[in-house]
């Protein structure tokens, strides 16, 4: 594998990638929604050979003491060994926790879901939104695939019926009420390899990159979350350049999300 880095560097210096893409091209992206009958909202995202399933489930629970009138958002990623020989059984790995937390922040910080509309009874009962991300095949860039799946699934999420007298959720009865989604954050993840910048790394590229930068952007061109990864550094100029790229690419990604 050590031979790959000089080869990839040489290609990137010429504005090329080993799969024929230009540095700031994504692989083919396909998004389907409403694919899991039991979920309140669901999506399947393919970025090249990377495949991710995302399911949204709602339940009713107690709000956090510091936000007694707001619903609760939880994002979780399960890196099952199903999807890659490098994933292991056992408690959540650092990678799976980072993956879910970066996607969580992209959604939470821009108030993509209007959590204030999810209060049933202040201090006592609010809707809890669980987003579960399951990679099916990891060929790199699970971050962007997971984030796309999360927002696509949220957009299609319907609230289950809540029986106020019995104070319980009727999980098998969906209402026609949509989850209040008001922003569409999308995540774009860049790699830096021997000084060259590019987007949407494959698994082979991910193994060679020096640094990684994920930026979540929303419709108005602002960023709602960032995360640097990898052991190499980034310059301030690079961060600014990539923020612009993220906004530009984000517009294209947002168009791929089905309206239902």
């Amino acid at each position: 594998m050590a031979m790959l880095k000089p080869y990839m560097t040489e290609l990137l210096a010429k504005g090329k990638r080993e799969d024929g893409r230009k540095p700031f091209d994504y692989r083919d992206i396909k998004i389907e929604t409403g694919i899991i009958a039991r979920a309140n909202g669901s999506a399947r995202v393919l970025i090249g050979k990377t495949e991710v399933l995302v399911g949204v489930k709602l339940d009713v629970g107690v709000p956090f003491p510091d936000s007694p009138e707001s619903g609760v958002l939880m994002v979780n990623a399960e890196l099952l060994p199903l999807a890659s020989p490098s994933f292991e059984f056992g408690p959540p790995s650092k990678d799976s926790i980072e993956l879910s937390r970066v996607i969580d922040r992209g959604i939470r910080e821009c108030h993509a879901i209007d959590l204030d509309k999810l209060c049933i009874k202040p201090k006592e009962k609010v809707w809890m939104v669980f987003i579960d991300i399951y990679p099916i095949n990891d060929d790199g860039n699970l971050l962007d695939a997971g984030a796309l799946g999360a927002i696509a699934a949220l957009k299609t999420t319907l609230l289950p019926k809540y029986d106020e007298d019995e104070e319980k959720v009727l999980h098998k009865e969906l209402t026609k009420t949509k989850l209040p989604v008001q922003k569409i954050p999308v995540l774009t993840t860049f790699g830096k390899l021997s000084g060259n910048l590019f987007v949407d790394a494959t698994m082979r590229e991910e193994k060679e990159v020096d640094a990684r930068l994920s930026i979540a952007t929303i419709e108005d061109g602002t960023a709602s979350a960032m995360q640097k990864g990898g052991s190499g550094p980034l310059t301030a100029e690079e961060v600014i350049e990539l923020t612009e790229k993220a906004v530009e690419l984000g517009k294209k990604l947002r168009k791929l999300i089905p309206s239902k």
């Binding site: 399911g55 489930k57 669980f130 999980h171």
Partner: protein, 247 residues
């Protein structure tokens, strides 16, 4: 019946089941082979509303080493349910139910594999339920068996599996959710289709000897149908590959 909350009044109406099936009728089954590029073998099985995805990795090094068996393969089967696969969200990760199911699935698959040919090696079979509507362990076995074949693991036979049971006093094949939840008997079975030997058998409920026989016969017949669907799914993948190679 009747004592359980949410139970429908009847599970059989005018001689038909709530989804319109006859007693000995199976839900539609679809199998697709080779769905996970990273895996050595993989498959998706859809049985009515139940959907399971399975990947096989191996034969490979045994990790951790304490699982190493110098006489035969270490067959590591892991069954799990995606958190969004059920009506109420399930906590991700293994629990007592999934651990037991993983064990009986390994025992169901092992007789089909030439285990001694993989002495000192591991074969990992991971089955994840994407959407659950009863019969998840049997769907998982059907998926695992074709995924093992897809991985090129040497096998005596495929393994075919189906659940049958009793609801509203009627013996029936392939229970779906209301029958599974509110019926009287659930009996999942797996067989090696060529010899009709049984490799998985579980039952909960009360059955007479005659009823047991009837359910086993009904299941074996259904497994013969499943065997054909499995073979077709494998042929479909490999026929296409061979065609592409010769072109």
């Amino acid at each position: 019946m009747g004592s359980k909350v949410g139970a429908p009044e009847k599970l059989i109406v005018n001689g038909k089941r709530l989804d319109g099936r006859k007693a000995n009728e199976m839900r539609e089954m679809e199998i697709e082979v080779g769905v996970i590029p990273n895996a050595d073998g993989s498959a998706i099985v859809t049985l009515g509303g139940t959907k399971v995805i399975c990947s096989v990795y191996g034969p490979k090094e045994v990790l951790p080493r304490r699982n190493l068996d110098t006489e035969q393969a270490f067959l590591n089967c892991v069954y799990g349910m995606a958190s969004f696969s059920t009506s109420e969200r399930v906590r991700p990760g293994p629990n007592r139910r999934s651990t037991e199911i993983s064990k009986v699935i390994a025992d169901a698959l092992a007789p089909a594999i030439f285990m001694e040919r993989y002495a000192g090696m591991e074969i990992t079979v991971i089955m994840e339920i994407i959407n659950a509507n009863a019969g998840t362990r049997t769907a998982a076995i059907n998926a695992a068996s074709v995924a093992l074949a897809d991985a090129g693991i040497e096998m005596r036979d495929l393994v075919c599996s189906i659940a049958s049971g009793k609801a509203d006093g009627t013996l029936m094949l392939d229970l779906f959710e209301p029958e599974d939840n509110f019926g009287e008997v659930d009996m999942p079975i797996a067989i090696l289709p060529r010899t009709k030997e049984i490799t998985l058998l579980q039952m909960d409920g009360i059955l007479t000897k005659a009823e047991s026989k009837k359910l086993i016969d009904m299941s074996i017949k259904a497994c013969e149908e499943i065997y054909e669907i499995q073979k077709k799914a494998l042929q479909k993948k490999y026929a296409t590959e061979t065609q592409q190679e010769t072109e």
